[in-house]
Symmetry: C2
Subunit: 344 residues, 2 copies
């Protein structure tokens, strides 16, 4: 029988900080033995890793809502894994867990690191492992609290969401429909737009690669925009600001169009629309809502089970493909929540 | 004895829409007889007119929170006047009133226009006529509801306000002090900064013409910024966004640095600070609070009377000097609330 120390742990570390898009030489591949867990600790075998736009920010040496990833550290990533060794009374071998496992095959988590890693047992009956990284994971939590707490949609409101076929966007639009709103997506490409409307039930979806977002908003938001959930920033944010209603809420969740800028961020030229319309633009960081994740997970799992909501994950296989796979987020290639399958 | 029709009414009309700063040929001077009031109507002799940054927006042919001034219309302006003829049971000759009198010597207001003109009797015991255009007028109302309702300051918060020696800014900072906050102004020139600190009691004031706003904020807001009341936009907004605290409130009241742009408005490059800090940027239009003006006026009049608050008006004499006087707002020359004295 193998012991843990016979196993190799392949890892991907941050070798240097990228300028613009992350390149191959910003990464370094390492191999280490897997250690036995300390008293109270566990070892988790990574099954799936979540690939998120926020990762790009973590690579910059800038103070933000969490510290940057250090040079030579294993790249930070959330994931789903299975416990393969446990000296913790709270976890048994075979338990499925969600945690910051980072970009590696095995994560050894000490007792005093469990809280910081956001470690918790997942219920496989509520959703598949990849759904636990999507609707039931951070993107779902972000959509849920961003839309409901910050966006405060009322039945009949028009809710617009960019990155509509992405991880957060797909849940924002479907949840808006559940809450009685008109949901209009913005996504890149006809295939994504068709899926968002036909499969997810959005009222409309504007293809920013295929036509004018400005015209699309005029056509599909005849009564203006009450809530805009922004994942992209840039020109699209300005187009929507030009169409907001009085007392509109603009939720700033991300700005993927700006994350690889080597020039300064493009600020919203139309921000004075907030003044004219007595409207609000507000940012959120999902970790603030950690106490309420269980409530959100329970509601979203119920919507999945009943078929009121669907989810789509874009699964790429192989730890070694992480550097190239991450880039799919920034050129808009991913279709659904982007997930890296590391093991089965 | 003179009748009204013997009197001449000198007026200034919008002749054409300016590009950039309003120029002399954007205005046209006209003279008309003063008509008798219709049944239920009144005639008001203009004493003082309020000159406001918002006037620049009213001159553009753009849908906003109120319609633009039409070409050949008398330029819109709020003012204080005295009733010189009345066929209204609600107003007697000699009453002092506040209303949209526009840039002219006499305003004839029909019964059905009184509400739209915002006509009301002022109490000369609560403040001087120019104070009724300042702390007790629109700037005071804007400061009061913008700071308290939108900014929601808590005792101990650091409140920063730009245009600190201007009409709105002077009241924002003093009211912040009354509410137990640290008040830091941003103004142009040492004289204004000295006045804001020594006369009005702000904790500090940063001279944007004399040094780095970025360094000034570091020095004078060591604990960051909880509420920013923005009257100017542009670079200064970006500097403050870089210093906001978690859950900060940014009140968008105006953007005087951008009003005469011939290039597109400069959007805030640092708007993603809203995300990192879970902060909010929100616009206001003071007219929304009209129902609550009496409460605000009562409180502010009490602060003036007790000496807890002061006010400063920059009074220029003569209707005919309106075009040049308006420009003082845009080059930062006015010191205190800018008022045009039309008659005594």
């Amino acid at each position: 029988m193998h012991t843990l120390s016979d196993l190799e742990n392949h890892q991907i570390r941050l070798a240097s900080r990228p300028v613009g898009l992350p390149a191959r030489d910003n990464w370094r591949f390492t191999t280490e033995p897997v250690g036995e867990p300390a008293d109270g600790g566990i070892v988790v075998k990574t099954l799936f890793l979540s690939l998120d736009p926020a990762m790009r920010g973590w690579m910059n040496d800038v103070k933000s809502y969490i510290p940057p990833v250090g040079i030579d550290d294993v790249m930070r990533a959330g994931g789903i894994g299975v416990v393969v060794a446990s000296k913790s009374p709270a976890f048994a071998v075979g338990d499925h867990v969600s945690a910051m496992l980072n970009v590696q095959e095995y994560a050894t988590i000490a007792a005093d690191q469990m809280k910081r890693a956001g470690l918790f047992k997942i219920d496989p009956r509520a959703g598949t492992p990849t759904q636990w990284l999507n609707v039931l994971g951070m993107p779902g939590m972000t959509a849920y609290f961003g839309l409901l707490d910050v966006g405060q949609p009322k039945p009949g409101d028009t809710v617009v969401v960019s990155g509509a076929a992405g991880a957060v966007g797909q849940t924002v639009g479907q949840l808006a429909k559940v809450k009685g709103c008109r949901a209009v997506g913005i996504a890149g490409g006809q295939a994504k737009c068709d899926w968002v409307v036909k499969e997810l039930g959005f009222d409309a979806c504007i293809d920013y690669k295929g036509g004018s977002v400005r015209d699309g908003l005029k056509t599909h938001c005849p009564d203006g925009v009450d809530v805009y959930f922004d994942n992209v920033g840039g020109e699209i944010l300005d187009h929507v600001l030009a169409r907001i209603n009085r007392k509109a809420r603009v939720v700033i969740c991300g700005a993927i169009s700006q994350y690889n800028n080597t020039a300064p961020v493009q600020g919203p030229k139309n921000y004075l629309s907030l003044l004219v319309n007595r409207a609000r633009m507000e940012g959120l960081v999902v970790f603030d809502y950690a106490d309420r994740y269980p409530v959100a997970i329970a509601e979203l799992a119920e919507h999945l089970k009943s078929g009121r909501m669907k989810s789509k994950e874009d699964v790429v296989v192989g730890l070694e493909s992480f550097p190239e796979t991450l880039l799919k987020l920034f050129n808009g290639e991913n279709f659904g929540k982007l997930v890296l399958q590391v093991a089965t």
